[in-house]
Symmetry: C2
Subunit: 196 residues, 2 copies
């Protein structure tokens, strides 16, 4: 297993970092300006890599709290979920580290799902996208979303999907995501959970 | 591991059939008329149960072709995906069998996803819902959808989501699913795949 070009390689990865090598950014010409990629993210102190087991201490959970309700997630809770994802497979939690501060400043997750349909295919989903809002203007949102989107293609997914709020539609359209006419509805049931 | 009350118990299950016992159908009063449940599906020859390894021979893949493009899925392909799902965990493919004909006539899948957000929670997704169109008028669509929806609740999911086409919105609304205002968009990228 290879290590990413940069970054502090002091923990085990959730998935093989070699998978992030050779992603096909050619289709993004014009979308990224300047044309950064996961292996050349625009600043020498930025590193795009799989989640590592010690990223709890680099603020990964704190970062997620900028996205939604995280609740109380201890180091042990983090480790439990990390190991559950690793055992299951199909979880490609990907982060951007500011290696100057050993701080996680961006994250996005690709989750893959085995299908019987589509020739027994693989479907991808984009989940839990967040970038630290003090790092604006560096295209890091586009960078982390497209890294996992290109990874889904590399893994052989026949499609990639996401759910989003109205104000984010334009952002995802700029990256190639589409609202298919008549087929773009996301519906949910929220369950009441026991107070923890 | 227990067996379902009825049905031909001649293959191994994708998940523990005991999980389908004791689902809380009380919240569905008025929705199902007459009030059928997964353990009392209205006809003695109907059986709601987890997918079994020999369901390829009971027409499971043929049934899915009523839903979408299935392509060429051989018995070996089916088995490969079945085992991949079993190994991964989190795949609750659930079927309705007409035990008179040893035929799969309905199916729906709950896929669960580990999360770091929401207290390290579990999210559910409803996938690949299909009922043989020659069995109309028996509420089997509602039955299979609510079986996996109640299963998600039992497993502790904090929410369950689905993507659907416009004509199905009313159906899912009748079962408690909602389009959350401003947060109901499903966007996708379809990848070109190599011709098989």
């Amino acid at each position: 297993m290879g290590a990413p070009k940069k970054g502090t390689n002091d923990g085990s990865f959730l998935y093989d970092p070699c998978l992030l090598q050779g992603l096909d950014w050619t289709s993004l010409q014009g979308v990224m300006s300047p044309p950064i990629t996961n292996t050349a993210p625009g600043e020498e102190w930025l590193c795009v890599r799989p989640l590592q087991v010690d990223d709890f201490d680099k603020g990964f959970i704190s970062l997620l709290s900028q996205l939604t309700t995280v609740g109380k997630v201890s180091r042990m809770d983090f480790l439990r979920q990390f190991l559950a994802m690793e055992k299951s497979g199909g979880y490609y939690v990907t982060v951007i580290e500011d290696t100057r501060h050993k701080s996680i400043i961006g994250a996005a997750t690709l989750v893959t799902e085995f299908k019987f349909i589509h020739d027994g295919g693989l479907r991808g989903r984009l989940e839990d996208v967040v970038v630290n809002n003090t790092y604006r203007g560096k295209q890091l949102g586009k960078l982390i979303v497209m890294t996992v989107t290109l990874l889904a293609k590399k893994l052989g997914c026949y499609k990639m999907s996401l759910d989003c709020k109205d104000p984010l539609i334009a952002f995802y359209k700029s990256l190639g995501y589409k609202l298919e006419p008549g087929n773009a509805n996301s519906m949910i049931i929220r369950y009441e959970t026991e107070p923890s």
